[in-house]
Subunit: 210 residues, 2 copies
């Protein structure tokens, strides 16, 4: 199909398609001549994916490129590919502050206790964990370790269920796509549901208080 068709089927504006092409988020189509190229279903699907990641996940274009590169590097094993993808979905880590060492110790202990033996030492998510715990440490001198354990337990159950739901039989690109969409849209689902739960329970608890 030509661009016009791609634009029609994906409902993404031409200018945006061109932008994504320029940014390497979309392969150039198969050249038909100097002035036209052939795009296929993979482009339509990719575009749908990119729009979800941008609109629901708010993932910046630069990180989408990292994601695309992870998909395309066929030398990577599936779990290396996943690891790269998670990094791309995670926000940039914050600079270390005064409570860094304490936070790093707590994070380390939490990861070990929860049994997460397969997290790479250099994982960005690990750094981000330290960062968040640092913020907590700055506010409430003496971080509630039982609280951390509670969250880690819940997160573990969620992550396990999500990975288990991935269909092993698919090819690597489909697998990665399912994983990425899952992380992003179920992540958003979870936070919306969490806010709803907070709204409900705060009403229950504080209804009688002026």
């Amino acid at each position: 199909m030509l661009v016009s068709e791609l634009v029609r089927r994906s409902a993404v504006p031409l200018a945006t398609v061109k932008y994504y092409l320029r940014e390497g988020l979309l392969h150039p189509g198969q050249r038909l001549s100097a002035r036209s190229a052939d795009y296929d279903d993979s482009h339509v699907r990719r575009l749908a994916l990119l729009r979800i990641l941008r609109e629901v996940g708010g993932i910046p274009v630069g990180r989408l490129r990292a994601l695309v590169e992870a998909t395309e590097d066929t030398r990577l094993s599936v779990h290396d590919m996943f690891a790269r993808a998670t990094e791309a979905l995670a926000p940039a880590s914050r600079p270390a502050g005064p409570h860094h060492d304490e936070a790093a110790r707590l994070a380390e202990r939490l990861v070990t206790e929860t049994g997460w033996s397969d997290i790479r030492p250099e994982s960005l998510n690990r750094k981000n964990l330290v960062g968040v715990i640092e913020v907590l440490a700055e506010r409430e001198a003496g971080v509630d370790e039982r609280g951390l354990t509670f969250y880690a337990g819940v997160a573990d159950r969620i992550g396990q269920a999500e990975i288990a739901s991935l269909d092993k039989a698919k090819d690597r690109v489909d697998l990665l796509e399912d994983m990425v969409v899952g992380t992003v849209v179920y992540g958003e689902l979870l936070s919306v549901l969490r806010r709803l739960a907070e709204e409900h329970h705060s009403a229950q608890r504080f209804r009688d208080r002026y």
Copy 2:
């Protein structure tokens, strides 16, 4: 204290403090003369809060203002104040698409089933729930209702624990601050932990696959 002192204690640049003052995120200090004003601890604390919400939560300045207004409207009951705060923390809702009605039905059923009787009908979070379910419906014709129920159950437990941990005895401003910081930083903690769990379990499951 004078601005210079406020800047020193909060480590927020003067230009930014002035900007927040202009935007109504910070009250003007008590006037001492035409050219000086007195700021206090409440300004330092507010600044720390604003920085956390911006840097950890990425909440835009406009929504921070809505949050501040909720704190300051003393006519509001505590739970109305909370409801307003949650709205400010939630992202803007997406426009309705073709699967809107189906999604709305699913959302409605999910909220009822989970027992969230105290969610206001006009709650923004409710609209956002419909939006996320719509995205799911667009991708996978036939949304997995058991999956939704699983997430709602988990979210309910988290929300309940979070609200329960709020100390009823505090005054309304402190209460709101705890709630807001909790929502934002524990929200971030949860997503970091969830990504870590995914990283671990994906390694477990896909280690052997090239």
